[in-house]
Amino acid sequence: MIKTLLAQVKEYKTTSILAPIFIVLEVIMEVFIPLMMASIIDDGVEKGDMKHVVFMGGCMIGAALLALLFGVLAGKYAAYASSGVAKNLRGSMYKNIQDFSFSNIDKYSTAGLITRLTTDVTNVQNAYQMILRMFMRAPFMLICAMIMAFNINARISLIFVGAIIFLGIALAIIILKAYPVFTMVFKKYDHLNASVQENIGAIRVVKAYVREDYEVSKFKRACENVYHMFVKAEKLISLNMPIMQFAMYSCILLLSWLGAKMIVVGDLKTGELMSLFAYVINILMALMFIAMVFVMVTMARASAERIAEVINEKTDLMNSLNPIYEVKDGSITFENVDFSYHKDPNNCVLEKINVTIRAGETVGIIGGTGSAKSSLVQLIPRLYDVTAGQVKVGGIDVRDYDIETLRNEVAMVLQKNVLFSGTIKENLRWGNKEATDEEIIRACQLAQASEFIEKMPKGYDTYIEQGGSNVSGGQKQRLCIARALLKKPKILILDDSTSAVDTKTDTLIRRAFKEEIPNTTQIIIAQRISSIQEADKIIVLNEGKIEGIGSHEELMAKSHIYRDVYASQMKGVDEHETK
């Protein structure tokens, strides 16, 4: 994991190294200041040498200025390095996600990926900056100050060792106790978040079933939980400062007591004692910082792991080594295809599928809920790879094509129709970046969308909100169909894409397709028999297996499932006609 993250430092190596170097220089300057102070007292005041006092005072200010300069530089480089690394992390993750296959995507949830790209990266960025600035600073400060102190008087400096051990143990206990509580708190937070989100999204359900009180009490409980945990964790963390202060003053007191004795015998000078006081603060603060960094890093560790997971995720859909860049025609062949989402041959959603579709044919697919209709067609543009067997387009295995080439020739209108924020035109140009206005209008006419678009105040420049929330379901579907048409594909797949379009428009769309793009192979998944009745071929799927293939008439004769479906949908009409 650390290796993966370090690899992302890339062009920010120099700054990552410069930052700690300047930190070290800053610390050195700071360490000198108490030493100069001692000199003011012992060489200046005690001997009455005013010149020395002024000189040393000047040196102190000089050292302070240098420390400021180094500190600012360190801050600058650390900022460069940490924000740069964050950028690289986001970039690498995003790029890798773009290479994900559908099954890779299925593994992560959208929310999960977004958290990784945002919150997790921020956590790691902060931790990285902390590491660059504090991880060097604190231990180095600790060591320097210790050396200085021991230099002044080794015996009395043993107090520091005692203080460090005491404080170290105390901090370690606090962190060890508080850390698990904090991780629990974060998890509970997710629940809280989810609970609010769900309640807003499903507010009508809550209200319709009169569940307000229940939901409020549920939320209250979740809230209460978070509250108690927080108070518990903070109670522990609150111990930090008092303990720190206690350690500091205890040291000062001990120093005063022992120092007094040593000064009497002449083992220590007053000025030296004063600088030892200053080092107490330096040393203990450094320890405090180490503890803080430690906490931050452990908290960022979870984030780092989640990021590394995405970066290291290997796409399981590789482009072929010698890809073919041309799709000959729109013929499709399934040969003994088995397919499982989990690559588990014993648990296939599709089994032994054999179908041949000639170029230019219109094929309807019908089948019950969960009969794997969508899974079947998703194999054609290679959104997933088959588990066994072969899918061929234009006579060649789909795995031998360049993925982009293949997908450009196979346009698919997914069951879940999605539009993106942007104008209608921009959305349609997803299908073809260079499409002219005429081409766009024509595609919309075919998809029976031009009429409602032209009625909109801004026509084709109407802005679509995220998720297409400002157009109706049926309009969305028609726009998606137009988008697919603009690709001028050899194969067009409509996965239940006219479900929200009324029957009349549905008929018009099909008629337009038949007349205007007769050479495109069309695959239509539908629930309504009227949508596919006129297809050249109809496939009846049942629980992942083909139950029957044939024309409407053939299936009426041989498939009882098809007959049942037909009967159920036509019942009303028949009744009416016999009336």
Binding site: V54, A64, Y80, K207, C223, E234, P242, S256, T270, V573
Partner: protein, 584 residues
């Protein structure tokens, strides 16, 4: 102008926050007292140590005096530590309790807000108000409690003590104060602005990621990866720049304050040296000064940091209060009646309704539905069936006229009792996170297992539920997760089967349930509909023909009303629709 109004808002928000805090004023006063005690003790310790040092330097080392001073100092240190801890704990408690109260209030509000508010605000925005803003507010509040009090008290205390010790050197320290103030406030301001910019840019990027990754499958299917990547890279670069500036400015704080500290320290050292040499001050007092000088500059940074943080917190609080103060649904009137089991006679009298005033939807609409009658709603997609549900279930109130159930105006009934009399099966499936059983039980929390089983069997849901890994205890997510669209709908039907409400609103959704399953459901549906008043969004000809009343809707308006024969005879929209869809 804008500044003053900003101020005003801040002031008002502060007042509101104080109202919440008021409940805990006892604890707060205690916390302030503790703060005062701990500051006084902290300030007194250096004086004692200074005295002890003077004992060494000037008076031939009186060990007794030293030890008594040090023992006193030691006990004070101990007491300080304890008071500090108590203070922290109390502050935590108050801060989180206040936040807890506010969050509960906000959530309760969500449940009574009119749907209009939720329909017109983005979900993400509301969630971030209840979660993220409240959090930010908590952080600010906590910092305010712990650091602002102690900071100010320490500052004042230090100044007083220094003045009593030596006026001249105190002046040296005070002279540096403006520098310290200037540096601290400059950095704080810059940092605040940069962080705001950073969070705005981050928001922009998150929105983009949300849209693209959320629909990654479409992006892939259209080979749009390259363009999306370019866009992402540009945003990423921008964010990195903002982030760089933000982190840089915030990292200036430490070196700058250390610098100011050092300057003060050096100043006191030099000035002190002169004073000691001239014999006006002892070395011990000088050492006191040095440690005060250290303490004196620290609160400035804390205070200025806290002020920005508090401003931030207030901004967040303002957003939360906006939500909390949003007008809720008109509460049920005091004498609102509880509708027990309704007969199901529904009357609309001169009903007018629109979502936005300038776009009239329904005007002067009259309808009377007898007990057990079926009303079919017919019309093209997006014709406005949601509007009808909104009015019937009183998610929205009518603008004019009235809707009556069993001759009672629904405004005179409690909303809860009204809604419990309706059962709904719609195209969008309404599931919530929880077990299958919990979802089914929603309309009737006290249903027994037998009842649930019977309902599931009647809705033909039992067979698939049985096959799930944990049966009725399988946990499903909000969007149904592992279930197919059809299965989700079956669950919703089960739910209504269990409730057996006197009035039903059904959507004959044909799109996600395959026709064979649908046939099975139809028989169950028919059984359920028997004797109940039903509104059916109809797709099926038989349903429409058998309906007692047909409402033809188009673009949100009810354009025709009558039974099948009447409407056909009218030769209007219905007959056109009928001919194109079923007869053609």
């Amino acid at each position: 102008m804008k500044k003053t109004s900003d101020r005003n808002i801040q002031k008002q928000t502060l007042k509101k926050v104080l109202r919440y805090i008021k409940k805990y004023r006892g604890l707060l006063v205690l916390s302030i007292l503790l703060a005062i005690v701990s500051v006084i003790l902290t300030l007194y310790v250096p004086i004692l140590i200074g005295k002890a040092i003077d004992c060494i330097v000037y008076e031939d080392v009186q060990f007794e005096a030293i030890s008594s001073n040090l023992i006193l100092a030691g006990s004070m240190v101990g007491v300080t530590a304890v008071t500090q801890w108590f203070m922290n704990v109390i502050n935590n408690k108050v801060a989180y309790q206040v936040v807890h109260d506010i969050r509960k209030e906000a959530f309760r509000k969500l449940e009574v807000l009119p749907l209009k508010y939720i329909d017109t605000h983005s979900q993400g925005d509301i969630v971030s108000r209840v979660i993220a803003d409240v959090d930010q507010f908590a952080d600010g509040l906590l910092m305010g409690f712990t650091q602002l009090f102690t900071g100010v008290i320490t500052l004042i205390g230090t100044l007083i003590v220094m003045l009593t010790l030596d006026v001249a050197i105190t002046l040296v320290v005070v002279v540096v104060t403006p520098l310290s103030l200037f540096v601290a406030s400059y950095i704080a301001k810059k940092t605040y602005r940069m962080f705001k910019l950073q969070s705005e840019t981050r928001g922009e990027q998150t929105a983009f990621i949300d849209e693209i990754i959320g629909n990654e499958k479409v992006v892939k299917a259209y080979g749009h990866e390259k363009e999306a990547l370019e866009h992402f890279d540009a945003l990423n670069e921008k964010l990195a720049k903002c982030s760089l500036r933000a982190t840089f400015f915030s990292s200036l704080t430490n070196p700058c304050t250390r610098f100011v500290n050092s300057v003060v320290y050096a100043g006191v050292a030099i000035a002190g040296a002169f004073t000691v040499l001239s014999g006006r001050m002892t070395v011990g007092i000088w050492s006191c000064f040095l440690s005060y000088a250290n303490q004196y500059t620290k609160p400035f940074n804390e205070i200025s940091g806290v002020v920005t943080e508090l401003q931030n917190a207030l901004a967040c609080a303002a957003r939360i209060f906006e939500l909390i103060e949003e007008e809720g649904e008109v509460p049920d009137s005091q004498d609102a009646l509880v509708l027990e089991k309704a007969k199901g006679v529904i009357t609309c009298k001169e009903v007018s309704f629109s979502y936005v005033p300038d776009k009239k939807l329904i005007e002067g609409f009259n309808l009377s539905v007898g007990q057990g009658q079926k009303v079919a709603i017919v019309g093209p997609t997006g014709c406005g069936k949601t509007t009808l549900i909104n009015l019937l279930m009183r998610f929205y109130d009518v603008d004019k006229g009235s809707i009556q159930v069993d001759s009672l105006d629904i405004k005179a009934l409690t909303r809860k009792s009204l809604r419990l009399n309706y059962g709904m099966v719609l195209q969008e499936t309404w599931l919530k996170k929880g077990t299958i059983k919990e979802n089914i039980q929603m309309g009737k929390p006290d249903a027994t297992d037998e009842e649930i089983l019977a309902a599931a069997k009647a809705a033909h849901a039992h067979s698939f539920i049985k096959r799930l890994p944990k049966g009725y205890e399988t946990i499903i997510t909000e969007d149904g997760g592992v279930l197919s669209a059809g299965q989700k709908q079956l669950l919703c039907i089960t739910r209504v089967m269990l409730m057996k409400p006197p009035m039903l609103i059904l959507d004959e959704a044909t799109s996600s349930i395959d026709t064979r399953t649908e046939m099975k459901i139809q028989s169950a549906f028919n059984r359920l509909m028997e004797g109940r008043t039903c509104f059916i969004v109809a797709h099926r000809l038989s349903t429409i023909q058998n309906a007692d009343i047909i409402l033809v809707m188009k673009e949100g308006k009810i354009i025709e009303k009558g039974n099948h024969e009447e409407l056909l005879a009218k030769q209007g929209f219905y007959s056109k629709l009928y001919n194109s869809q079923f007869a053609g």
